[in-house]
């Protein structure tokens, strides 16, 4: 059978438009992923210089069970966007520790230049409150200057 016009005149049945019907599905899939993974910012980060450590590890714990305590260079403490006095830390953390079923993790976010006396006083307060799980928040150290054995 001879093709009319050697087949050039035959109209293609495939649409010449980019199929847009699946676009919505893709977008919704991504949307659901982000909706599920999103954790809205509970507090604003304080401007601190993070200390660096090679042994930095990820803390696998629910967000609700982590309390961030910021220690600034001048010794000021901040919890949930509010400054607090060193002496009141134990009274603040104690009830939270019991409420969390003794799972609360305190993330000490201290400035790398903060004098150690403040970090020590904070630890003493935490011991008094009973909260014993502490994480010194650090950045992963990526320098190659340190020799690894």
């Amino acid at each position: 059978m001879a093709l009319k016009g050697a087949g050039f005149e035959r109209k293609s049945k495939a649409s010449d438009e980019i199929p847009s019907s699946s676009l919505a599905d893709i977008a919704f899939l991504l949307l659901i992923f982000f909706m599920v993974t999103t954790v809205f910012r509970q507090e604003t980060d304080r401007q601190i210089e993070w200390p660096q450590a090679e042994a930095t590890q990820q803390i696998d714990e629910q967000r609700d069970n982590i309390l961030n305590i910021w220690v600034e260079r001048n010794g000021d403490l901040w919890v949930n966007d509010r400054p607090i006095a060193m002496e009141s830390v134990a009274d603040l953390v104690g009830p939270l520790w019991l409420e969390s079923g003794q799972r609360l993790i305190i993330s000490i976010r201290a400035d790398s230049q903060a004098p150690y006396r403040f970090v020590d006083s904070l630890q003493e307060q935490l011991k008094r409150s009973g909260a014993v799980y502490v994480v010194f928040a650090t950045e992963m150290e990526r320098s190659l200057t340190r020799e690894r054995r």
Binding site: S20, S21, L23, A24, A27, F28, L30, L31, F34, M35, T37, T38, V39, F40, R41, P51, Q52, A53, E54, A55, T56, Q57, Q58, I59, E61, R63, I66, V71, S107, I108, A110, D111, S112, Q113, A114, P115, Y116, R117, V119, D120, Q123, L126, K127, R128, G130, A131, V132, Y133, V134, V135, F136, A137, T138, M140, E141, R146, E147, R149
Partner: protein, 141 residues
């Protein structure tokens, strides 16, 4: 019945062309507002308040962190103090703990020493696999 027979030109499908736009708009919103948690650091477990354990001096490695970040090392009962850089501690700990598996690192930091010096020492100890670490304040004098 001319009117009934007239076919409507309006499509009977729900218009899906703008669906992608709506979804992308929401997607961009979530992309912009998402903050991935940065919960990472060095884990330690503090001793409970009343918990005081007597440890033989033989099993203690005293690590004193000075204001300039240098580390003074003293083994248990011995009076010899060696000054080292924090980076060297990792190897020293490995050697020491191989000789005495019950060794405890007693880290005492000068009150005026920067937090990062303590972190450097803690980092070196954790990298060397140390588990028994005590953190204290170095008393002056």
């Amino acid at each position: 019945m001319a009117i009934l027979n007239k076919k409507s030109k309006v499509s009977d499908e729900i218009p899906s062309a703008s669906m992608a736009d709506i979804a992308f708009l929401l997607l961009v919103f979530f992309l912009v507002t998402t903050v991935f948690p940065r919960d990472r650091g060095l884990r330690v477990v503090l001793p409970e308040e009343a918990e005081e354990v007597e440890v033989s001096q033989r099993n203690i490695l005293h690590i004193h962190i000075m204001t300039n970040g240098t580390v003074e090392l003293r083994r248990g009962e011995s009076e010899n103090i060696s000054t080292i850089a924090p980076g060297a501690l990792q190897q020293i700990w490995r050697t020491e703990v191989a000789a005495n598996p019950n060794l405890i690192a007693a880290v005492k930091t000068h009150p005026d020493a920067a937090h990062r010096f303590m972190i450097a020492v803690l980092d070196a100890l954790q990298m060397a696999g140390a588990e028994r670490i005590s953190l204290q304040l170095l008393e002056e004098g």
